[in-house]
């Protein structure tokens, strides 16, 4: 028995008892709230003190316990799944990564804090919780594995984004739509989740082969004159993240060097996202709206208790607000610290109302706003319904907004702007000469 416990503990993602208790309590409350609605939730939980004080009848307990068990069963597995992926992957555990870098560990060897995929120990816990849930709660047996796999895949997606593994990131991001779309057919949805788990796990395994992700801190020691410790101290003063990121982070240095070095930066970070990223990111929200529309349709078709309702009334208005916010964010990113070459008054009096090389930054946001708003209005007018209208308009809006030129790098090198130090002077960490 002791050997079994020792073996079991080896495969358990490490977290403290306090974390477990807090997570269990919070998750069960949330689950109960979500499952039973606010009224039942409040009614149930307000009886709890009464039970202890006045010893109310056992019928209250009968009503209360399955609800609590649902919460525990479902959310224990969700937290377990998060912990399995997040705590066991060095990329999301800073101290673990730092320690691992100091050890002879190499990709391909077992990870010291446990595997990043589902282990035998996980299967035992999964089976136990599934059985408990099946026998003591009204939930179906597939719910627990589904919750576990969903949690794992979400955590894996986050890690894949951080690892910069694009093919697997997009495969997981778009893949999530399949189990979601099949919710009306739970077993098919569960099967899709298993396939998605395979994809996400393979992506995580692949990410480990890039260990240690950034060059060692030795690479940034300055000509060997400083000790490694000194180099780390130097870089920590420059920016704490540099110690971790090493030479790659030198591209960030331009951000920390005041004005005008900040604006006239020599090192350029890789663009936030490439053209392919921009297209795929633009497709993602529309894709999920389409999935949600399909889920709604399939639930209605299978008579699963979804009310028809009509949410299309204020769709155009709401979307327009969202579009405006997104367009303003893009404009601010382009113009913060990079102002127009002459003032508005100067434009008027010199007859240069439009300065094409500067005003080009307004073109993409305006075109995106116009296209997005026109599409959603027209599609609703033609009776396409709110789901398809929103999906198409958001996709078109984002495609124009994210792909419309000029790119940020091109703009900051070739645009006809006047560089100001507004972006720096607002920050207290700079001093004016």
């Amino acid at each position: 028995m002791r050997a079994f416990i020792r073996w079991f503990r080896r495969g358990v993602p490490g977290f403290s008892m306090a974390q477990v208790c807090l997570a269990l309590f919070a998750s069960s409350l949330l689950f109960a709230l979500a499952a039973e609605g606010t009224d039942t939730f409040l009614a149930t939980y307000t009886t709890l003190p009464q039970y202890h004080i006045a010893r109310v009848t056992a019928s209250v307990m009968k009503e209360f316990l399955p609800l609590f068990a649902c919460g525990i069963g479902g959310f224990v597995m969700l937290i377990w799944a998060f912990a399995r992926a997040l705590r066991c992957h060095p990329l999301t555990n800073r101290k673990y990564l730092a320690w691992l870098r100091a050890t002879p560990w190499q990709p391909g060897k077992p990870l010291p804090l446990g595997p990043i995929g589902v282990s035998t120990q996980d299967c035992i816990v999964l089976a136990a919780v599934s059985l408990l849930t099946y026998f003591f709660t009204p939930l179906d047996v597939y719910i627990v594995p589904m919750i576990f796999l969903t949690g794992y895949c979400l955590a894996a997606l986050w890690i894949l984004v951080r690892a910069g593994d694009r093919p697997y990131t997009y495969a997981a991001a778009f893949g999530f739509g399949v189990p979601l779309g099949l919710l009306a057919w739970p077993w098919a949805s569960c099967a899709a989740l298993v396939v998605l788990y395979g994809v996400a796990h393979r992506g995580l395994e692949r990410s480990l082969y890039r260990f240690p992700w950034e060059p060692d801190a030795y690479a940034i020691t300055l000509g060997g004159k400083y000790s490694r410790r000194r180099a780390e101290q130097v870089l920590e003063q420059v920016s704490p993240r540099l110690v971790e990121l090493g030479d790659v982070a030198l591209s960030h240095l331009a951000d920390d060097l005041g004005w005008p070095l900040r604006a006239l930066r020599l090192r350029w970070q890789r663009p936030w996202f490439s053209r392919i990223d921009a297209v795929l990111l633009a497709l993602l929200p529309g894709y999920y709206i389409a999935v949600a529309t399909f889920v709604r349709w399939s639930c209605l078709r299978n008579d699963m208790g979804v009310s028809e309702g009509n949410s299309a009334e204020s769709l155009a208005g709401s979307l327009f607000c969202l579009f405006m916010i997104a367009a303003i964010i893009r404009l601010m990113r382009y113009s913060n610290g990079y102002g127009a070459p002459i003032s508005l008054l100067g434009r008027l009096f010199t007859g240069r109302i439009i300065i094409p090389q500067y005003d080009v930054i307004f073109a993409a946001p305006l075109a995106a706003l116009l296209a997005g708003f026109c599409i959603v209005t027209e599609m609703e007018r033609r009776g396409f319904g709110s789901g398809p209208s929103a999906a198409v308009s958001i996709t078109v809006f984002l495609l124009i907004l994210l792909n419309g030129g000029p790119s940020l790098s091109k703009w900051r090198l070739t645009g006809a702007f006047r560089i100001s130090h507004s972006a720096v002077t607002r920050k207290p960490e700079y001093v004016k000469l």
Binding site: K225, G258, L261, A263, R267, L345, R418, H421, V431, L433
Partner: protein
């Protein structure tokens, strides 16, 4: 080499620079002088790429500013610009200088050695580990100058490098460094300063800006020949910028004697 072609710059309605044409040879040290508000800082900022002129263009070592991404990126590596109103980060003095050098990809051994020598030259060794914000104004100016000098950039644009609280030893040190740079054939230096005495000692040629136009651009001796004035550079400058100054002074004292 710096080429300025037909450059006109407005901030608002009034043009600050009007149709400026300027050619500074490689290895030359040129100084921009002129009364306040005549466009010295604007000219340097336009050459440094801070401003986008409404007309004309700037070329650095044969590459035109802001024409293509590649050209602009290459120019930025070649140019070190220190404005009079720079904002410095709150990092340690030495770290700041080293970091700027690393951004300009100065070779590590050379960078550390050069940093040590600059800190010693400008008497900053005592504050090298102190945050820039805790230094005096003069020390901050010295740190900023060190950061520009450490870059080893082939084109240096320094706006008012001698002002900003520099002590006499700092002024002397900077003067010597600039004189040494002026002797090299691979570094082009452009400075703006209102102090004629310093300019006379270090500059190959002097650009005199009046009302946004180049009133004169020549060597100190050439300017003397042009104006027929054999006195100090200050007198030559006055002759070009404000020919009536001497007469005005005479008139003032005549009035006092009466």
């Amino acid at each position: 080499m710096i080429d300025v072609v037909s450059l006109t710059q407005h901030y608002g309605i009034r043009p600050v620079l009007k149709d400026i044409d300027l050619h500074i040879n490689p290895g030359e040290l040129a100084a921009v002088m002129g009364p306040n508000g005549m466009g010295k800082t604007t000219l340097l900022a336009a050459i440094a790429g801070i401003l986008s002129p409404q007309k004309g263009y700037v070329e650095i070592n044969g590459r035109r500013r802001r024409r293509t991404m590649e050209e602009e990126a290459a120019i930025r590596k070649d140019v070190a610009y220190l404005p009079a109103d720079a904002w410095l980060p709150m990092m340690a003095v030495r770290d700041f200088i080293v970091t700027v050098g690393r951004v300009y990809e100065v070779e590590d051994e050379r960078l550390l050695d050069h940093t040590d020598r600059l800190l010693h030259l400008f008497d900053l060794e005592g504050v090298q580990d102190a945050p820039i914000g805790s230094c005096s104004t003069g020390q901050q100016k010295k740190a900023a100058l060190c950061s520009a000098l450490v870059t080893d950039a082939p084109v240096m644009i320094l706006d008012e490098p001698f002002s900003g609280g520099l002590d006499p030893s700092g002024i002397l040190a900077l003067k010597r460094v600039l004189q040494r740079l002026a002797q090299r054939r691979d570094v082009t230096v452009l400075i703006a300063t209102p102090v004629p005495e310093i300019v006379e000692e270090i500059a190959h040629r002097i650009v005199i800006l009046v009302d946004g136009r180049i009133a004169a651009f020549d060597t100190p001796d050439g300017l003397r020949k042009q104006t027929g004035c054999i006195g100090s550079l200050q007198e030559v400058l006055e002759h070009i910028v404000n020919p009536d100054t001497a007469a005005n002074i005479e008139r003032y004292f005549e009035g006092e004697e009466r």
